[in-house]
Symmetry: D2
Subunit: 146 residues, 4 copies
């Protein structure tokens, strides 16, 4: 993944309960960090998650795929920088990519494919407004899939 | 707490992601283990938790207090024995006590006060059936508070 | 607890994986939030946690007691304000108090008793520097126990 | 993935704190369930995890890749069946595959690539005994990579 394509990042410190018996962040927690980054990415586009499970832009999201490659461990109290972008959108689905670094060291990267669903849990086209905002934010880095 | 008053226990192994940077189970996880024990205690009285948040005996429970004393750490892959009893009941509330041991070593003990609520989140008297089952199970060890 | 005695607080948002089947933050997570607050409180006194398990001021801490009272639930994506103070110190032990609020609503409060230990896991008097810094920060609100 | 190739499974109930704001198991927790299955798989081959981070067969494992596809959500208190197999081994690395079902419903499947490391965190060939045990257990389903 090419970090120069990422326009959004957050910082977040590794907490005591996220480090495991090996003295490193447990591998499952990076999916949580990715999700933290994805929610802040969307907040930055003015869409926030409500307790109904819907975002304020009308989307409701389920994760259908996650993959992650681990390069270096991260440790207690380190400040992670979590980069997030949307790499492609297609009707009802889209793909987040994430990179996590600590200072200049690559910790891991990964991607998640998400699907927009309606009240009946049926896939539904992404709202026009959401597509427009993502296009404007990502610009030429966004792939539109048919 | 007097372990001879406890008539219910479960066993549960310490998992990799529950051990923290100090190489011991993180202090917050014992509240989770207590809750595991409490839910199995209730299953043993034929009441199971449904995804609506209600148990099948009609109760819905919120926690209003937890306290816990830690005596010895527990470690990766150890098999915990989690003891659970109800020590008192009172109109809409009741008290769980828990002890966790590993082999003969006391790890921690604690108690939680829980309140039964209705659909509108208002405290509601415990159902007669639930009271009857708890009384039968706990016998003379149960205190009835007014 | 009297919030006017608290001179330190942090803000922290409720994350998706911290909300449970009842749609509210799981009761165990507040102990994690307390700990987040306590570590930032100490960072504010120039002592940070290293991956050896020791803080940079030479202390190593184990938790021997936690208690918590829950007043109102908190929800997804809410911004918690976590207040932390040290209410008393005594030879090798000391007591943290915490209050969590969301806007003007009291969510929970609690306290934890911690013990300073050495390399052999034996209780050891708190370092003079740590005591001095805590006294200066807390002022008259700090109780010195014998 | 072909479930007929899996010779090992464990059962594990979904806990209250593993269900998120959407009322379903949080996507990150399946990596934890996979790991629970993998550790029990190895216990079944007489290798257990010690608090040093080493298994008793002399291996120490780091995860370098995880991927997971989600097909159906799982819910509070459901009993998951977690299937585990090793699909290939190669010098210092090997691949776990996992499938999770609830009754007859496919919840998710995924794979993880792990690397055996030594005291200095350098990749090291898998011990002969470990290879022998995996070959005997998996039989013709195991691919040996060069």
């Amino acid at each position: 993944m090419d970090i120069s394509k990422f326009k959004h990042s957050i910082k977040r410190r590794v907490r005591t309960y996220e480090v495991d018996y090996q003295g490193i962040v447990h591998n499952s927690n990076y999916l949580r960090y990715f999700e933290d980054g994805r929610i802040e990415y969307r907040r930055n586009l003015n869409s926030t998650l409500t307790s109904s499970g819907f975002f304020t832009d009308g989307t409701k999201i389920v994760v259908v795929h996650n993959s992650i490659d681990y390069f270096s461990p991260s440790y207690l109290d380190e400040e992670l920088e979590i980069f997030t972008r949307i790499s492609w959108i297609k009707n009802s689905s889209f793909c987040f990519e994430n990179i996590i670094i600590v200072r200049d060291k690559l910790i891991c990267n990964g991607k998640g494919i998400l699907v927009n669903i309606n009240y009946d849990d049926i896939p539904e086209n992404l709202p026009e407004l959401a597509i427009k905002q993502i296009k404007e934010f990502e610009g030429d880095n966004l792939e539109i899939r048919q």
